[in-house]
Structures are given as C-alpha cells and as structure tokens.
Subunit: 342 residues, 2 copies
C-alpha cells in the first residue's frame, strides 16, 4: 500500500516547479496541480517540470474542483508573497481538509502585516482541523529560526545580527524580475510603484518570527530596501548589467525593544556577482558567531516546504509559524523570558 | 509572588558551580545543593560559587533529605559522565517528583551504552510523572542537534561531518585532568586504565542522537580517541607542557549505514593552544557548510542546562533526549525517512 503523502501543488511558477521536482524525488504522491496561467492549464505537470510522463497530472485552473477531487493531505502552495491575495486560496484548501505549507513570505509571520487575516485564518483552520504554515529559507529559516536555535546555550542575549548575501545572477528569472535587475533607476521606481518590482519580502517577518521564538516583545520594527546601482557596465557569466542600472538590492529589517540599538537586525543583499554567505552573530554570553558558504535559496526553500509538509500532518490544527515547528528555548511558564534579554 | 523555578543543584563540582552562577543570574530559585565532597558539605553554596550571602543555601551530603525537604521543580544535575553511577541519583530525584536536567554525557543518548538502564529510567519517569534529560553542548548540541537543524532545508542528506576544536589550556581543571593534560604517555596510560583519565565522553552519543533526530538507522558505531603528544617543550599562557607529554586529545565517532563511508562523523580535538572553532559540513542537496568562531563549552553547557530546565517543566514525562526538545524535520508517519538519506 502507498504510504506516501498525497499532495496538490498550488502554483506552478518557477518556485512551484522546483517544489514539484523535490516532492516527486522525495516520494510524495502528487495528485493534482493548480495554476491560473492559461498557457499551463491543461498541460501535464511532468512536461512543465521536466519529468515527462513520470508526473502524469494535468494542471487545472479550477482550484475547488481539483482540491475536492484530489483530497490531498497537504497542499504545497507557491503563488504570491502577500497574504491578502493568498487568503482565499488557503480557505479553499482548508475546505477540503488539507493542511497547507506555503512559500507566501508574509504568511511566515502573518500577525505583523495582516493581524486580522491571521486571526481569521487561525479560527478557520481550528474549525476545520487543518494547519497552515508559511515557510522558506528567507524568511522562515536562515535569518530567524536558525539564529534562535543558536541561542540554545546562551545565558544572555544582547543583540542578534543575521545577514544573507546572494548572487542575484544565479537566481530564477521571477526573482530577478522581482528585484528589478538591470532596470534603469526610473524604470525601477516606476515598476516599484506599479508593483512589478516588489523587492525582497520578509524583513519584518523574519524580525518578528525570531522575536516570537525568543519570547521577546518588540516595541518597534523598521525595514528598508534600496536598489544597488552598477557603477560601470559589467558582465557576469551570461549576465550583463549596464552602468547606472540596477545590479541588485540591499535591505534591512530591525526590531527594537524600547529605544537605542536594535535587538534584532536582519540584512539581505542580492547583487549580481556577490560572494554568497550567511552570517549570524549573537552578542551576549557566550557570544556566538556562525558563517556559512551560502545556501541555495530556491532548492532549500523547496526542501523546507517538502520537509515541513511531512511534519505538518502531525501538527496541531491552526495557523502555525516555524516557531511552533521549532520550540522556544525559553519557557514562558515561569515568566523569565525577559531575563534572557536584559 | 515568586514565579521562578525551584531548583536543587546536584553536584557542586566545577561544572555544577558554573551552572549555579548561571541559574542564579537567570533568576531561578536555588533551594538546595548536594555534593559528596566532605570539604564542601556544610558550606554555603554562595561562598563556593563566589556569590556570598546572595546564595544562602547549605551544601548537604544527604540527597534524600535535601530533595524531600526542598521539593524542587527541577534538579540541575552535574556529577559524573556514566549513567550506571548516575542512575541511583536520578531515581532519588524522581521520587520527590522533580524533573532532572543533567550534564551526564552518556545520558544524552542513553539507549546506546546503557539500553536497559534507559528502559528502566523511562518506565520510572513515566510512573512518577517526571522527565529526565541529558544535555550539554558536546554531546547535546553542537555536533548532533545543530547539524540536524541545519538539514531543515535539504532534499537529500548524504553525509554529515561535525568538528569541534578547543584550546585545552582554557578549560576548567577537572576537564584538563580528565584528558590527562601534561602527563607522560606512561602516566596517561596508567591513569586511563585506572579511570582517572576518561578522555572526552560522548562521541557515540552524538552520533546516535543525531541519527535519531534524522530518523536514520545506524548499523554500526565506532569511536576512537588518542592523546596528542607535545613534540617539544612549550608554554602557552600560564600553561606549560613538556616535550613527549600529553598536550591534548583527539577523537572521532562514526556512524555507518551498511558498509562504506560513515554517514555521520563527529570529531573533537582538545589541544593546548589550538585555534577554537566548530565546523559542520552536510553533503547532499543543497550542500551546507557552517563554521563558528568557537563556543565557550562550560558556559554554554551551563546555559543549555538552565534553558532546558525552564523548558522541561512543560515537557511530557519520560526519559527525553534533545531530539524530543528539537523535533525531527523528517516525519516518520509516511515512512519516507530513508528517502532523505539515499
């Protein structure tokens, strides 16, 4: 008998297709696929993801029909970054009793940007006995969950700085478009205004997710992002950026406790040709500094989505965050949370 | 009203005294202290740990009496490395309904070296409604829990190598004695035979704990340790090692799945003057490499003991491992565990 998880893929964009390949490779049973793109609808998922007849599932535009026919255990969801757009899609999944693991960045800590939608989702999930989870590597792991884990042995935490630097030229097309790569500054600003360029979404979500795992009350959050302008024409691999055009973006999210220095600072840079790494510095006792040689974001996001899909079926119903998947190291029961910080 | 955790310190050796200071600083309510050392018994814990009258607790030799009078929520246990010696002490704690967080290295994964004692402990804990946990940074976090956490985004794990290098001259006296620092080779071998030199305990425990979190079946474990001999006289800080004498130890633990290369390899080096760092390499998809600038082991072990003490009061009864405190990323429910590895 087939013990593998029944999953429906909701969103067959570039990220969704990577997730599909990973889910297939990991032995999940992909029973349906949903996308709004007319060009994809009616096609075999296997063709779209380069698996041919091994993945003999037809992409459908009709979410309700697909979900009610396929009855998945879990929906692997990868459509857009913003919960207000994603919300109705999540409700459809819950209606058929499916858990959802989503790459929607603002769902990683929905209580920050969409507190009312978050409450509604939690209520709805509990009524239906399903779980919702927003995840990914950034936000969702590298700059929030992992720094929290690294405090496991610390007796005092004074400040957390987490940085991720990636080479934008290596990223999928949809990401390059999202950060306005190779646009002029005017084009960038116009596209940013139109919503064609969203930049990276999730600075504040990482700050708030990390704070929630640490059991720390953040009084103020700020986030900024700006384009990096090429100072001369340059080529990188098959990639060309003209002088004065956008070679990447850099952004920061900060979480404050009262005034003064931020308690949490997350930094993200996506620049053509950048040396890739992550660095996590936790000032406190004992001080902790860890640095990586870089993590392939798309693949790791697909990996964490599939890994969490296998976990979420055993999770309690409701709107979950990665904080529930990775428990806090500071128990709330004795009201000592704050001692860890001050 | 005082909401802080009531704890008894079981073992007032060097590690126990560091734990006492951290527990005090974190606002835990230290209500008793136990030690067999006649020199310490009857003394104020505050004097022994440099906190004077702020820690007005008398160290007692009588464990039963102290435990039944103090009725702690949690016992912070730091006596010896070997579960057969520690077992009766744990039972005494359970009798008064106290959870125990212990630095006993073989308790970190007791099913490997003491499977029958582990079963008995689990039974006993469940009957009494208490929890036992063995923890620390090594074994217990750096070379086992943390590598498992770093696989969260991986779609395939082929091999895990985790290394910890420390400067033995910076470590507490009891540790230096344990690794036979500055002994001649003959003295080292005699002391190793007598049990005065135990070396580092926990290679196999790290291998098995990591494997258990990953949901991987290890078919064979091996562990080796050997002294590092100084090739010439040298001084390091206040520390002097004569030529031909023991300047440190290096050891390794390996876990195999069938034949061939080990799936897990943990390495530990404690050498006078060594550059301190940890490095975790996970071969697979995507490959993950993280390196630290070193973690203060004694302080971080005290930190993790106190952090886990605040967590264990909310944990289910039984013999726990750090694997229960840090859940696996690969659900067992769908029998896909092995896919992650092969």
């Amino acid at each position: 008998m087939d013990t593998s998880l029944r999953v429906v893929l909701y969103g067959v964009g570039e990220m969704g297709r990577i997730i599909a390949r990973v889910a297939f490779e990991r032995g999940l049973n992909i029973v349906g696929a949903i996308d709004v793109d007319p060009w994809k609808c009616g096609k075999k998922l296997g063709e779209l993801v380069g698996l041919g007849d091994d993945l003999d599932v037809i992409v459908s535009r009709d979410a309700e029909k697909t979900l009610s026919e396929c009855r998945p255990d879990v929906v692997l969801h990868a459509t857009t970054s913003f919960l207000d757009q994603v919300y109705p899609q999540l409700i459809k999944c819950a209606r058929v009793g499916a858990d959802v693991v989503s790459t929607c960045e603002t769902l990683v800590y929905p209580y920050y940007r969409y507190p009312e939608l978050a409450e509604l989702l939690d209520e709805y999930a509990k009524n239906r006995g399903v779980s919702f989870l927003g995840t990914g590597v950034n936000p969702g792991f590298l700059l929030d969950v992992l720094p929290a884990v690294l405090t496991a042995g610390m007796t005092r935490v004074e400040r957390i700085k987490a940085t991720r630097i990636i080479d934008a030229s290596k990223k999928r097309r949809s990401f390059r478009r999202k950060i306005g790569l190779n646009l002029s500054l005017e084009e960038f600003e116009r596209e940013a205004f139109r919503g064609g360029v969203t930049g990276h979404v999730g600075y504040a979500e990482s700050v708030m997710l990390l704070a929630s795992i640490m059991g720390v009350d953040i009084s103020r959050v700020e986030e900024f992002e700006k384009p990096i302008i090429a100072e001369e024409d340059f080529e990188f691999g098959d990639f060309r950026v003209g002088k004065g055009r956008v070679a990447g973006i850099e952004g920061v999210g900060r979480g404050f406790i009262g005034d003064g220095e931020p308690f949490i600072e997350v930094r993200f840079v996506a620049r053509v040709g950048a040396e890739e790494y992550e660095e996590i510095v936790v000032d406190g006792v004992p001080r902790v500094v860890w640095r990586s040689t870089g993590v392939d974001g798309d693949l790791a996001t697909a990996g964490i989505v599939v890994n969490m899909a296998m976990k979420i079926v055993d999770a309690p119903p409701g709107l979950l965050t990665m904080g529930e998947m990775f428990p806090s190291y500071v128990s709330s029961r004795h009201g000592l949370k704050r001692r860890m910080v001050f």
